[in-house]
């Protein structure tokens, strides 16, 4: 069967609710299915990618380092909406660097994060077969 295009849309901040963590668990499991996978971070979802998260003092699992492993799972299309960052006074420098090794380019390390406009993201949404929201 031909592969489908899956888009995971993340609009919720981490830690306050479980959605971000359990969404990431779906992405990791889904990676084994060899579908075309993209992730979008919109609105408070951009907070999931913040650097320097440390949950020691709130007793919950710090799953933020797991995002850095996405490249190893062949999940390398990560779209962050520019307007969502700006609204929150953030820029790409506030986010964890996420990279992957491009097998078609002699395993060169490349940036997985693409900062996109609303119009670009709208087009990405339109290109999908399955859109999962958590």
């Amino acid at each position: 069967m031909a592969s489908k295009r899956f888009l995971y849309i993340n609009r919720k901040a981490p830690h306050g609710t479980v959605y971000a963590l359990e969404s990431l668990e779906v992405v990791l499991i889904g990676a084994a299915f060899e579908q075309d996978v993209s992730l979008a971070f919109i609105d408070d979802g951009v907070y999931q990618l913040m650097r320097n998260q440390d949950t020691t003092a709130i007793g919950s699992k710090n799953f933020s380092p797991t995002y850095k492993a996405l490249g190893d799972y062949d999940v390398s299309k990560i779209y962050v909406e520019q307007e969502s960052l700006e609204t929150r006074g953030l820029s790409k420098d506030d986010l964890m660097p996420l990279t992957y090794e491009d097998e078609d380019d002699d395993w060169a390390e490349k940036d997985s994060i693409h900062i996109v406009s609303g119009a670009e993201l709208a087009e990405i949404i339109e290109q999908q077969d399955v859109i999962l929201n958590f």
Partner: protein
């Protein structure tokens, strides 16, 4: 047409499970097929058989179970989400050394792969949640 349905919230607190149920019933009425209803996050709580809603309220778990039985629809609770929240079938309860299980008939526990598979099999995957 083939539908997959994802339910992300538990019964009674959010309307998500009710909306998903009425959507599923309407889809079946129109002659569509539902390949799977997948329950994730607190949605796994829809699978309890221990709920005792008052007489004048709907029984959400029983209603799902009946819809599944009458139409041969798979109701799947995500195993990881279910274990976290204490939703156990007899096998899981035994394996985890617990003294009881609480899953309603008609529901099954399985992995997240079943959600991805529903996305692959179905023509449409629709998500209900908060």
């Amino acid at each position: 047409m083939k539908f997959g349905i994802l339910v992300n919230e538990g019964p009674y607190t959010h309307q998500a499970s009710d909306s998903a149920y009425y959507f599923a019933a309407a889809a079946l009425r129109a002659g569509h097929e539902i390949v799977r209803v997948f329950f994730y996050h607190d949605g796994v709580n829809n699978g309890t058989r221990l709920g005792v809603p008052p007489q004048d309220d709907r029984n959400i778990s029983a209603r799902w179970a009946e819809l599944a039985k009458d139409n041969d629809v798979e109701l799947i609770l995500c195993v990881a989400a279910a274990q976290r929240r204490g939703m156990l079938d007899a096998d899981e309860a035994r394996r985890a050394g617990k003294d009881a299980d609480n899953m309603a008939p008609g529901f099954q526990i399985s992995g997240l792969g079943q959600l991805i598979d529903a996305g692959i099999q179905a023509d449409r995957l629709i998500v209900f949640g908060d």
